[in-house]
Symmetry: C2
Subunit: 171 residues, 2 copies
């Protein structure tokens, strides 16, 4: 916790090209009041309208509206059950599943800074049973980075740009 914002001037982005930024686009899809809570429920295996309703304590029309929007955004898919064709299942798409790091980062932040007691249950690695690491920022080769280690560079200046951009997982 030893750094102040003074150290961060490198992180100054040439603002103004707000359309070029992924954040407003992400917020357009996920920025509404219940969206993340619905996503959380979906990650917990909830798939049916009435179950979301009960789990979240949300009004029907709002839930209906949010589910439609999430389906429209490609975050959930809406399909009829094979066995009971009047039941509809809302399930996470790959695009929706890919929101898990963002959701966990937010959640960990809330646990760390807002929740008084240690969170329970704890999200763990199924392989060894240990709690997962805090979501963080890492260099391409796995070093932990903080705000003062970051800088903006123009796409054209990055030597390995195409390879680095295509690479979506660590070695």
């Amino acid at each position: 916790m030893g750094y102040e914002q003074d150290d961060m001037d490198k992180l100054r982005e040439p603002l103004g090209d707000i359309a070029q930024c992924g954040l407003p686009l992400a917020l357009e899809a996920m920025g509404e009041r219940w969206s993340f809570m619905i996503l959380r429920a979906a990650f917990n295996g909830i798939r049916h309208f009435e179950d979301f309703l009960e789990a979240l304590g949300i009004a029907r029309n709002i839930l209906s509206n949010r589910l439609s929007r999430l389906v429209e955004a490609g975050i959930l898919k809406r399909e009829h059950c094979a066995d009971d064709r009047r039941r509809i299942e809302y399930r996470l798409t790959p695009k929706g599943l890919d929101l898990l790091p963002a959701m966990l980062a937010l959640r960990q932040w809330g646990e760390k800074w807002e929740l008084g007691v240690p969170a329970n249950p704890v999200l763990c690695d199924a392989r060894d049973g240990h709690p997962i690491a805090p979501i963080g920022i890492f260099s391409h080769d796995g070093r932990a980075l903080s705000a003062e280690d970051l800088t903006w560079r123009d796409l054209s200046e990055i030597e390995t740009a195409p390879a680095a951009l295509a690479l979506r997982k660590l070695p």
Copy 2:
């Protein structure tokens, strides 16, 4: 992208204890419409009321309200400039700076799934100039994890619980 939600049943959390979850608490602080955009501007070095106003294109009263709420939540601090005491600086607190991973995760998601063109400029490691790795989920010893690798465990069952919880950065 090769997994479906079927693989994820281990991730089912014993719902209901919504107060115990950090996500609603995080959303209470950051869930409002402009909060993340204000945070983004703050990370870009913007500190003054009129600069936020111009950078975001937000109404004065809403900006005033949001800044107050973020200060109340301990995400920004509000202090008078030493040199010009009518100027007020809003600056990120350690709690606010700690939202960077969550913001970047959201932003990377938006870039990956919503933005048509490659994002520019690119956030890079200042040390080697390479783009940062995608924000992801990692085990305590640095293995990349995906949704199907995760499970919930009760706090009491975790052998190294106190040490693991105290540890907030990777070795």
